[in-house]
Amino acid sequence: MESIFFLVVAAVAVISSILVVTCKNPINSALSLVMTFFCLATFYVMLDAPFLAATQVIVYAGAIMVLIIFVIMLLNVKAESGKRGAHAKTAGSVIGLFVLFQTVWFLMRGSMTGARGTIDKAQIVSYGHVELIGRELFTTFLLPFEITSLLLLAAIVGAVILAKKKI
Amino acid sequence: MSQLPLLSILTFTPLIGAILLLFVNKNSHGVLRTIAMAVTVVTFVLSLPLVMGYNAAGTDIGGFQFMEKVPWIAAGPFQMNYHLGVDGISLWLVMLTTFIMPIAILSTYTAVEEKVKEYMICLLLLEVGMIGTFVAIDLFLFYIYWEVMLIPMYFMIGIWGGKNRIYAAVKFFIYTMVGSLLMLVALIVLYFKAGGGDFSILRFWDLQLDPATQIWMFLAFALAFAIKVPMFPLHTWLPDAHTEAPTAGSVILAAVMLKCGTYGYVRFAMPLFPDASAQFTPLIATLSVIGIVYASLVAMVQQDVKKLVAYSSVAHLGFVMLGVYALNTQGVTGGMLQMLNHGVSTGALFLIVGFIYERRHTRQISDFGGLAKQMPIFATIFMIVTFSSIGLPGTNGFVGEFLVLMGAFESSLRWYAIIATTGVILSAVYMLWMFQRVMFGELNNPKNQVLKDLNAREIAIMLPLIFLIFFMGVYPRPFIDSMAPSIERLIKQSKGKQQVAALAAPVVAAPEGAAAPALPEGHVAVPALPEGHVAVPAAAPALPEGHVAVPASHESK
């Protein structure tokens, strides 16, 4: 049951990803991307990360994509008049395939290592995902977390400066 | 150590000023200039306690005073300390820097109208680099400041320069960079030879290096400094850099930055590698003398005033190098004085060229003539500075030049001194010829007939320099006396170690201790030295071989 569901959602995710790349109109690309994000949120739920799934929907689909669509509308970007040269397209695809091939090859060969933790489904259910993530963020990762705020601040300043009338 | 970290304050005051300037609107030129001026004046005032507090008779470690030492970088085996100090040699160079800076900044008030903010920041950063270079005891720190100095100057030439500025700036940068990279390599080698620890020059001075290593490392250091000085075949960046640089840039370049090269010889190349230095003495003396005569001859036929002054710099620094390499009290003292003199006189000359350039926007000698009639004050000042550059007695130029020649004559470099003395004639020829063509003659160019004489600001710029020209010429004692102990130490280091190595290879145990008590009677000991050369009338040609022999018999460790 779960695997069938996975396969369906995965198929939707892949198809919508392909659409992002193939659509001529950027609006269509954007909408496809939203679709992809939703699919990914679904996977996150399946992986017992409901908080991240929610964040995914809110931040990505809700904020970033809206911003992108807003810009597309604002700039009134037309559909691409033409693709890049044919060989560029081919070369890009070939490189993409190589990347895929290599990654898969890598996965085939590899085995999973890494610091194993104690978090399992039961714990997530008992404590709640939000609390677990929150505890991590505000204890172990407190400093990076605070630094992210600086990053965002810098981004805000940068965006404001860049978008000013006169550069 | 409990006292105020005066040197750090001195080094970073201009930096604070530069940061302050960042927050000033770039269009309010007046405020920018005032702040920059105030900062440099404050720096100068802060540097005065150095002179007052410097105790020439002090017996501090290595002769350095106002020492500051703070651990800075400790990366594995590498330990860099933030280690500052001044001795009699660097003291006056620091003073020269802090003295020249307000003058340079005052000279830009009307000369620079574009990008004033950036210009002032460049100037202040330059001051940080220059002061740092002179006060650093830690070689790593020295290297950093050495490079820091380079960048603002590069921008000053490249942005505010003349027509051909990019070429000049790149030439300046590449020339200097080539040298300093070699120095960096040698520095690292030196560090490993010393077997870890910190980069303090005090420690490196005591090293006993084997002759082969010394030669290579001396060459690397000497090349870096020779480019900066600049010595004869490596001088071609200087005329270009000077002609293209804005006035303040030229002034600082001539007055202070060139001194970094000679300072490098005195502080590093000679005491660190005495054997190699002795071995290369004939070469360096030859290059210096060629530089003097060559630059004088070339200066004679220049059509551009600024280029002429630039070539005269090459000649003057030839004197400095000759004096320093004479390696006796008079020679080194003369060399050091000549460094200061050159800073004052040539700085003043560049300012003067700047004045007429601002008025006429040309530097061709042929465009002028008869200015003395139109600009009497200017003529007087120009004349005083010209004669100071020629080295007329009573002005500063004479004392240095005289001591250099006397020192060289008394040392093994006698024949070089004789040739160098012709520089006395040649300098009169080119300077006076230029002066005559610019200031004398008919005032027949209509553009020159409306020139205005110097205004109050310009006179204010020149007055301190004129004062120094006479003061150092009539009463150079304060300078000489405060330098003397450091110079004796330098001579002892550069000569003593080599003698110890040659004469008493087994008794390496206490070279410092053995030599130190002899110092008070140094005056008695010194006369013994020329005698050795007196015995050989044709001393100069014979000498190189004599010195070659020294490293061969030397056993390290």
Binding site: F98, Q102 | L297, V301, K373, F387, T421, Y475, E531
Partner: protein
Amino acid sequence: MFEYVWLIPLFPLIGVVINGLFGKKIKNETVIGGIAAGAVFGSFLVACGILFQLLSLPGEERHFEKTIFTWISSGNFKADIGFLIDPLSCLMLMVVTGIGFLIHLYSIGYMHGEEGFYRYFTYLNLFTFSMLLLVSGNNMLLMFVGWEGVGLCSYLLIGYYFHKKSAGDAGKKAFVMNRIGDFGFLLGLFTLYWYLGGTHNVWTINFRELASHADLIVPGAITTTVALCFFLGATGKSAQIPLYTWLPDAMEGPTPVSALIHAATMVTAGVYMIARMNFIYIKSPTALLVIACVGAATALFAATIGTAQNDIKRVLAYSTVSQLGYMFLAMGVGAFGAGVFHLMTHAFFKACLFLGSGSVIHAMHHALHHEHSDADPQDMRNMGALKAKMPVTFATFLLATIAIAGIPGFAGFFSKDEILWQAFSNPHHGSANMLLWGAGAVAAGLTAFYMFRLVFMTFFGKTRLSDKAFHHLHESPWVITVPLVCLAFLSVVGGWIGVPKVLGEVLGGMPNYFEHYLEPVFAYSTNYMLHGGHGAEHAHSIAMEWGLMGVSVLIACGGIALAWALYIVAPGFPEKFVSTFPVLHRAVYNKWYIDEIYDFAFVNPCKACGNFLWKGFDVVVVDGIVNGVASVVRGISGLLRHLQTGMVHNYAFSMALGVVVIVGVYLFR
């Protein structure tokens, strides 16, 4: 009084400061001139006081040193700012301040109305200051300071009319020639210092200390080198062959300057220096011979040129060169006292002559100005018959001319005759003595000839001016004539303090005061010569001395007679002579083409060399190598540059490709 010796140079220095800084504001010529002249007069008074005190002391105690402060001290080298008083320096102080004061006074009248009046007096005071430093400094370096200082002032004053190119050129030439001399001076100083210090551990440049160690200076190559190096300095300053060419050109300066600097004081600095260092020269016969030869040659050579010049000041300039040659001849034959004596008498009559010529030029200038004529007021061919219009000038000029010609009784006679006698009888040069005497005697004849030629062309005959201009000629004001009279008086009587022994005996045992006065200074040399000098003194009879005196007087009279014959009796003859020997005349008139030869041999090669080094070596070789390296790098990077297309997506491609390749290598290695 000795304690106040520092006041002597100080007064003129104060004058420099006041006039230099505020002269432009003062504007009032009387005040400016008054300050300047007053300063020198103050120095003169102090010098007089010192002289009297000096004379009141017994001979061997006539010296005093006053050190103000240590100027340079480095290692074993030490130079003070200090003053030395001894008969020699005191004499020089008197000459410099005395004549200097008269010339300052004269200048007030002469320079009246000139633009830059204050500038002139600033320079003149500065000159006096430097000259006083030169003659009173107690060590070689201080002497060198004055030495260069007077060179500087000479440069400034020659170039006073700086808008004239010729004036600027002349000033530069003077300074550079002097610098060549200074080169010698410095080398001499170094060698001496190193020689005494290195071999005997006597590290000093103080004159008295050197003199007290004079025994350490032994005859030999190094002593000769020292002596010749210093002499090179003297040839530059005192305009001797080969460096004399600047002096005639120096006449571009105002006439009082020519009188003070280029006749009376500065140019004699070389003589003073050799006299001061006589204990070195006496040790080197070679150097003495060189000096004597150069002196005699200069005396003769310059005299020949003097005969053909038409510019009144140029004639006097060559005459100065020639007379300086005499002084060096004296030095070269070891007659230091005689040389200094001639220095003094020459200062009197030559200053008088120059000032007189200045008076003439002044008058001519005004006369020609009235007529708006462009004629040269200095050209003797425009003058003639001035004696009626300018009686005082004429009388003083004539007296000075008689003095320089060597007519017995006048100042020049005593000093010149002493030199000629010493040249003949000195024990140094053996058979060369005859030659030296001969050159001196011929030069004396020539001197008499050209000086009287000058007088006859200027003051006698018919005027060559237009009537209107001639009408406007008038005698100069008192500030000009008073110094003339003073100097003429000195030219007449100045010689009597140094009457030669043979003459003195005839005149009832009149002693040679001058020689006696200078005795302490040259005592060492005199003793050295007496005891183990170069061979015993030849015995010369008194009759010989009388005979030679008579010959030289006859030669002088012959010169005067020739001038009279050629320029008064048969005024057409010189032209005829010129047209008969055009080549000779042209050569003499053009100063034997020495300037052109120097240009060809030294100046132009130097310039060409400089040009070659700059454009050939600097630009082509050094920069060629540097730029060559740069072009190679640029060439290579130009090739590599094609990889950088500047298109963003190409970079993205490269990046992705790079990742694929790196990962591929990692995976499939």
